[in-house]
């Protein structure tokens, strides 16, 4: 499982970075979204792969850390997902505004010479 997840993260990140380096704003947005998937999964994978062990405890008992998946990376990623949405929205609006003002969707605000 680890190897699959690792390769998957790598492919997501590589696709994202490729798009990040492209000249069209829309490509950059899609690229950033792909990178954020990869990074979220990467942070999440720091808690190691654990199947069928969600960090939900039985009521009335103290939890056993070895029996459940690591909750800390999950908590980190949860807020990152929501904030990632906000950032995508912000970037999108900035790019739309830039497009409205410059008349082009090139990341530099003008077509390459």
């Amino acid at each position: 499982m680890e190897i699959i997840l690792a390769i998957g993260i790598g492919v997501f990140a590589a696709s994202g970075v490729w798009l990040l380096l492209r000249p069209r704003t829309y490509q950059v947005i899609i690229g950033l979204s792909l990178i954020s998937y990869a990074v979220n999964l990467f942070i999440f994978s720091m808690g190691r792969v654990k199947l069928h062990a969600p960090p939900v405890l039985q009521p009335g008992t103290a939890g056993d850390p070895s029996a459940v998946a690591d909750p800390v990376p999950q908590a980190l990623v949860l807020t990152a997902i929501v904030i990632g949405f906000a950032m995508t929205a912000l970037l999108l609006v900035v790019l739309l505004a830039a497009r409205g003002r410059t008349g082009t969707d090139h990341v530099d605000g003008r077509e390459a010479d």
Partner: protein, 972 residues
């Protein structure tokens, strides 16, 4: 009031007064002056009152906890030395305030002036009463800051701005050196408390950090006290209003450095390093200052250089390291403050009444203002060291110390000659000041006809000159006991014998004084023709301008290097910047692996592969790659493919035991897709392929390079995550969270308990970020102007309208209205269902996957679905969502839940939980964290909806533009 409370009052009062003066109306000149004057007088009274207890040789102390975790206390401490300086600060401060009331023009915003002046006064008091060194540095930097504001008070003048900037750069940089020096002392001694530092001479002497600490502290003191080679800021600070010069350059700002040297004198002076660092600096400053003062054409410039020279004299005395020299230094500090303040005020009066300070224009003023002239003459005579005036006695002591043997070095042996020479110079420039301004032919073409100033404007000078005379004639009766108290506070019991008498018989110092007086007069008349020629600046050293070097360094750093850096690294194009960022990230990730290798040896056996998982990821990777390939020309396809990658991410979370993440990811996926769909419309039409046949080589190379960078990035990330996943999990904070989630947080869903309870403060920060992002989107879209070609109706609508036009029985718009009627109805009905689901997600969040974030996004989806079903206009007419209110409510709820715990005496965001028995529902867990989560929920709803509908609303803009005026944007 007890003594320590009075001490605190003396420190707080100027700052309170400053704040108050800042709020006075711009032209409340008298009120502001009265306020500042009473603050200074009350301060004076407090200081005088405290003398009784200071004279018992036990410092007045006030101690309060400041940063107990770092072992830092807020300590005020007033011993004899602090007392003396505090008296000067408040006393001369009061006189300066009175003087400034008449000096400042009614057109200037005078309350602001007094506000700065009071704040500066408070900072100075802070320095002298600081009981620990960190506190001292703090107030030290405050004086730099407020002196900057004071010097630059007439900010419309470029000279004032430059002078202020220069003073700030030099003194604040020195302050940073001092800070490091103080930290070193704290490290050597183990405490920053002044009492402990002053008792730790042995520790300091034996430390190998002593020299470093000494150099740093001297840098602080020398920059502040304008010692060579940092002296050049002081003449430039003369662009300040004259009351400021009179205050900063006599009793306060520049004396802060002297104060620090005296304060640390008992523990740091007397070593060879001290002698060879301090004495040469003082000597050069003394001679250079005095020499330059002779040749100034600006009245205030002359006084400024003479100030530098006197500061050099005091520094030199402190450098000698003998107790007697210390006595002379302290005594001269007081004397200099008194006569220099009065001289600056006199110069200000001359400037004020004649309109110029240029010595080439001024002459023969005695006839016009005999009273001021007499006062200025007495003060100048004190400066020159004429007998019967205070300057004479301390200068005599200086000569005596110069003659005395200290280290027997060449420097020490030559001191008497240098001292006499400096004496000659000081007589010359004093003469120049008096003879040049008040005598000679009557003045020609002055801007104003001079006359005596208002009586109260002259009063401060009269008062100070009276003190000059009193100290000069009967020193042991006036200043003697005070000086003794001060010396006891510095030296403790081993007081040297000294006599403050006027007459010591025919001694060598007296002989030197006579030579200085005669030589000075002679030199003046020799130089007279040269001075009258009107050349600016001193001969020989005119080329050696510290200011020019300073400007050069500043230009080099802030302009040339910056420009070169911009040429080297800068580009206005985004892609190269992105490449650099990504490459740096790759390097940063690689370097530790290459340098140190991976931690732990040998990988663990991985979890066995499940074929479903592998298959799913094959699809996921395909989606990502295809999205990357298609994003340029097929935006919609790329969006769908990206959604596919998102779904695989989501499924991975489910598979690998992270249900909370899966829920959130799924919901966010929905809103992101809607968001991008809304944005698609405003992007330009796809351009046909720029390169019909084959792209040029440069483009191809760029693509290959980018492909290489992207592959490297992905490869490293894959390698890193694989290596980490196959190594055992180190012990981390997770154990704490898992073990306590239920027993202390009252929830079984550990992730949610971490978010809303254990790390609630982080979550608080995160929702604020979300809030800011949403508000920024909102603000940007309010001014949004779409590109002209995307304003028209979308293609689909045009086809529909064309169909309506063609059919005789249909009106245009009918098809749009009826379009997808049944799905639309279903979507309308979905609203309560989705909303209920949101509430369900929210309620179960503490124990099962769900929670405020997920619930918030769910509810916003419910709103967005309405927009999709019925169109923006219909929803805006029927539903007032008011997302800004949701957001405000959310922030307030979360913050007040946190603040609520203060009431019960717990830190911010401490949570409490218990089970409540409710009718019908049974036992329900009620945690205060639930309220916090409610805030998160409301904020997430507000922010998400705000972003989405602000964007959705834009589609109305284009049609509204043609319909002219329309109602306001009600959805807000």
């Amino acid at each position: 009031m007890s003594n320590d409370a009075l001490l605190l009052a003396a420190l707080v009062l100027p700052f309170a007064g400053s704040l108050l003066a800042g709020f006075l109306p711009t032209h409340a000149r008298n009120l502001a002056a009265a306020l500042a004057g009473s603050v200074a007088l009350i301060g004076c009274a407090i200081v005088v009152w405290l003398y009784r207890s200071v004279a018992t040789d036990v410092p007045v102390r006030l101690r309060a906890d400041w940063l107990p975790s770092l072992g830092l206390d807020f300590t005020l401490r007033m011993d004899g030395l602090s007392w003396l300086f505090a008296l000067l600060i408040f006393g001369i401060g009061a006189l300066v305030v009175l003087y400034a009331r008449y000096y400042m023009s009614a057109e200037d915003p005078v309350p602001r002036f007094f506000s700065f002046l009071l704040a500066f006064m408070g900072s100075m008091v802070g320095i002298v009463t600081a009981g620990n060194l960190i506190q001292l540095v703090f107030f030290w930097e405050l004086t730099s800051l407020f002196s900057f504001l004071l010097i630059g008070y007439w900010h419309h003048s470029a000279q004032a701005r430059d002078g202020a900037r220069m003073a700030l750069t030099i003194t604040a940089a020195g302050g940073l050196c001092l800070f490091v020096g103080v930290l070193l002392i704290g490290r050597i001694v183990g405490s920053y408390e002044l009492d402990e530092v002053l008792a730790a001479r042995d520790l300091l002497d034996n430390s190998n950090l002593y020299t470093v600490a000494l150099v740093l502290i001297l840098l602080g003191a020398f920059t502040k006290s304008a010692q060579f080679p940092f002296h050049f800021w002081l003449p430039h600070a003369m662009a300040a209003p004259t009351p400021v010069s009179a205050y900063l350059h006599s009793a306060t700002m520049v004396k802060a450095g002297i104060f620090l040297l005296i304060r640390l004198w008992p523990v740091m002076a007397g070593t060879d390093a001290w002698f060879y660092l301090v004495v040469p600096a003082g000597l050069v400053t003394l001679l250079l200052g005095a020499y330059s003062a002779i040749f100034q054409q600006d009245l205030k410039g002359l006084l400024a250089y003479s100030t530098i020279s006197h500061l050099g004299l005091i520094t030199l005395l402190l450098g000698l390291g003998s107790p007697l020299a210390l006595v002379a230094a302290v005594f001269h500090t007081v004397n200099h403050a008194i006569f220099k303040a009065s001289l600056f005020m006199a110069a200000g009066i001359i400037d004020h009444e004649t309109g110029t300070r240029d010595l080439r224009k001024l002459s023969g003023l005695y006839k016009y203002m005999p009273f001021t002239a007499t006062l200025a003459m007495v003060a100048a005579a004190a400066m020159a060291g004429v007998p019967l005036l205070n300057g004479f006695i301390s200068k005599e002591m200086f000569f005596a110390e110069a003659v005395a043997d200290h280290t027997g070095s060449l420097l020490d042996d030559s001191l008497p000659y240098w001292a006499t020479l400096a004496g000659v110079f000081s007589v010359t420039y004093s003469l120049r000041f008096i003879l040049g301004v008040f005598f000679g032919p009557p003045p020609k073409d002055l801007p104003h006809i001079p006359h005596e100033p208002a009586h109260w404007m002259r009063f401060p000078i009269e008062f100070l000159v009276l003190i000059c005379l009193l100290i000069g004639i009967v020193p042991s009766l006036t200043v003697g006991p005070l000086l003794a108290t001060v010396m006891r506070s510095i030296l403790g019991s081993d007081m040297p014998y000294y006599s403050l008498a006027l007459w010591h018989g025919f001694t060598l110092p007296l002989f030197m004084s006579l030579i200085a007086l005669a030589g000075g007069v002679l030199l003046y008349f020799l130089l007279r023709p040269y001075l009258d020629s009107g050349i600016e600046g001193p001969p020989l050293v005119r080329v050696l301008k510290g200011q020019r070097i300073f400007e050069k360094i500043l230009t080099t750093i802030s302009l040339q290097w910056a420009r070169r850096g911009e040429v080297l690294f800068g580009t206005r194009r985004l892609q190269p910047q992105m490449r650099i960022v990504v490459l740096l990230a790759v390097l940063a990730a690689l370097s530790p692996i290459v340098l140190q290798g991976l931690p732990g040896n040998g990988a663990l056996a991985g979890t066995p592969i499940e074929p479903g998982f592998a298959l799913m990821w094959l699809i996921g990777m395909g989606c990502a790659l295809a999205a990357a390939y298609q994003a340029k020309y097929h935006r919609f396809a790329a969006l769908v493919l990206m959604g596919g990658a998102g779904l695989v991410t989501c499924a991975t979370f489910v598979w690998l035991s992270a249900p909370d993440l899966a829920v959130t990811q799924l919901l966010v996926e929905i809103v992101t897709t809607v968001l991008l769909l809304l944005g698609l419309r405003w992007l330009p039409k796809r351009i046909e392929d720029v390169y019909p046949t084959r792209p040029p080589l440069s483009t191809l190379i760029r693509r290959y390079v980018d492909f290489g960078i992207a592959s490297a990035f992905g490869g490293i990330l894959a390698f890193l995550s694989y290596s980490l996943m196959t190594r055992p999990l180190p012990e981390s904070v997770s154990r704490f969270f898992v073990e306590r989630a239920y027993t202390e947080g009252g929830g079984t869903n550990v992730v949610n308990v971490i978010l809303v309870d254990f790390r609630g403060f982080d979550t608080m920060g995160e929702i604020v970020v979300l809030c800011l992002a949403a508000l920024t989107v909102f603000a940007l879209l309010r001014r949004f102007r779409p590109a002209p070609e995307s304003v028209g109706s979308p293609e689909q609508q045009r086809i529909q309208d064309a169909y309506d036009d063609a059919e005789p029985d249909r009106k245009p718009g009918d098809t749009v209205t009826d379009y997808m009627l049944i799905p639309r109805l279903v979507m309308n009905w979905m609203f309560p269902v989705i909303a209920t689901f949101a509430v369900y997600l929210f309620m179960r969040g503490h124990d099962l996957p769900g929670g405020g974030f997920a619930a918030g996004i769910t509810l916003s989806i419910a709103f967005v679905v309405q927009y999709m079903a019925s169109g923006t206009r219909w929803v805006e007419d029927h539903l007032r969502v008011l997302p800004l209110r949701w957001m405000g409510l959310g922030i307030i709820t979360s913050a007040s839940t946190g603040i609520g715990s203060w009431w019960f005496g717990y830190p911010f965001l401490t949570s409490h939980f218990r089970y409540l028995e409710l009718p019908l529902l049974g036992k329900v867990p009620m945690a205060s964290a639930l309220l916090f989560d409610l805030g998160v929920f409301a904020l997430v709803v507000g922010a998400t909806v705000l972003i989405l509908i602000a964007l959705a609303h834009q589609s109305l803009r284009s049609s509204r533009a043609s319909q002219a005026a329309e109602g306001g944007e009600t959805w807000r």
